[in-house]
Each structure stands twice: as structure tokens, then as C-alpha cells.
């Protein structure tokens, strides 16, 4: 994989990490977090760990996000910071 793509993913990952933490809508934050996890999964794959990437995509991007969304069913979506 070429380094340009790697760089793009890294930038996306860092930006999505910051956005996930600063966005005030928690549901949106959880989606951004899933995007972040997916970016990480791509990074892992690029670094030669496809099975970790696979797991991260399934577990980190999938299950964690679903957990958060499921929990948000019962909570306020707004955050003050």
C-alpha cells in the first residue's frame, strides 16, 4: 500500500478522534467513533495485520458502536462539552 493512502488514513483517524470527542451530539459522536475504529482497522491492515484489522472492524467499529447506540436509546443525546 502506498504511503499516500496511509497518510490520508492517519489524518482521517486523528481528525475523527478529535471530532468524536468534541462533537456535542452523542449519537453523532458514536458514529464518528465507529468511523475512527474503521480507520484504525484500515491502518492495522496496512501495517500487515489483517486479522487484527478484521477484528477491529467487527468488534471496534461494529459492536462497540452498537453498544453505545443501544445505550443511547435510554439517554439524552446532548452533551455539554
Amino acid at each position: 500500500m502506498s504511503w499516500e493512502i496511509g497518510l490520508i488514513i492517519v489524518v482521517v483517524v486523528i481528525i475523527s478522534a478529535i471530532v468524536a470527542l468534541s462533537i456535542r451530539d452523542l449519537l453523532a459522536a458514536s458514529f464518528v467513533l465507529m468511523a475512527y475504529s474503521f480507520g484504525m482497522a484500515l491502518l492495522y491492515t496496512e501495517l500487515g495485520a489483517p486479522d487484527v484489522g478484521f477484528t477491529e472492524a467487527a468488534v471496534g467499529a461494529g459492536l462497540s458502536g452498537v453498544f453505545i447506540i443501544a445505550a443511547l436509546y435510554y439517554m439524552k443525546r446532548r452533551s455539554d462539552d
Binding site: P50, D51, G53, F54, T55, V59, G62, L63, F67, A71
Partner: protein
């Protein structure tokens, strides 16, 4: 309680997708030794399939397909398979989880290892999927 999602597209799509996800979970499980995949991933995808149903069909209807009490039992069974294999290998005379000592007849030691790992992977698969679904069910449980 998660109610049924009121959108027919989402409903139908998830109903169609869920069996394939579960099938893919099994693929990931059984193909784990020669391509990315294995018990953890497979279990996670399996759990994701169940959760998809829970989220779109609502808890009540999805419980008909996958009862709430089943998840912890599956998880426990998975752990039992894991621990039980280890104990079987111990009874066979080897160390804990030494697959060479599994009591399979007519198999060479390397094949022993292959099947042993597969059994363990199945245990992990069941354990992970069961426990993940349990966590989900607990999170979405009725308010006290």
C-alpha cells in the same frame, strides 16, 4: 424496551442481511487458520447479527428467533468447551491445552493440533458471541 423499527426498508434489509452475517461468522470461524478470522472475529460478527435483529425487529420479536436466556447459556457453553478441552488434554496426560494429547484415534499429532485448535476456536466463538449478546441484552434491559 427496544421497539420494532418503523421502516420497512430497514426491516426487510436487516432480515435478509442477518442470516448472511451469521453465515459469514461461521466462515470466519472455520477458515481462521488460513486467512484472517477465527473464533473472536466470528463470534463478534455472530453477535452483531443477533444485535441487528434486536435493533430492527425489536426485542420482543427477535427473542422468538434468539431468546434472551439463550445468550448466557451459549456463552457459558463456550467457556466450558474451552476449559473442558484443557481438562481433557490433562486427563490425556499432557499439559493444559496440549492438543497433542487429545484422545482422537487414528490421527497424527499435527492433525491433533488442528482439530484441537478448531475445538478451542469453536469454544471461543460461542463464548464471545454469547457474552456479547448478553452484554447487549443487559444494556437494553427494562428499567428497574
Amino acid at each position: 424496551m427496544i421497539a420494532k423499527y418503523k421502516n420497512i426498508v430497514v426491516n426487510i434489509a436487516s432480515r435478509v442481511m442477518a442470516p448472511f452475517m451469521m453465515l459469514y461468522a461461521l466462515y470466519a470461524l472455520f477458515h481462521g487458520h488460513s486467512s484472517p478470522g477465527g473464533g473472536f472475529q466470528g463470534g463478534a460478527i455472530m453477535a452483531a447479527g443477533v444485535m441487528l435483529l434486536r435493533l430492527t425487529l425489536g426485542k420482543e420479536r427477535s427473542s422468538r428467533k434468539f431468546p434472551v436466556w439463550l445468550a448466557p447459556v451459549i456463552g457459558t457453553t463456550g467457556v466450558f468447551i474451552f476449559a473442558g478441552t484443557g481438562i481433557v488434554t490433562m486427563l490425556g496426560g499432557g499439559n493444559y491445552l496440549d492438543y497433542g494429547f487429545l484422545p482422537f484415534p487414528f490421527l497424527s499429532p499435527s492433525e491433533h493440533r488442528f482439530w484441537g485448535i478448531l475445538i478451542i476456536e469453536i469454544g471461543v466463538f460461542l463464548g464471545v458471541s454469547g457474552i456479547m449478546v448478553t452484554i447487549f441484552d443487559c444494556l437494553t434491559a427494562e428499567q428497574e
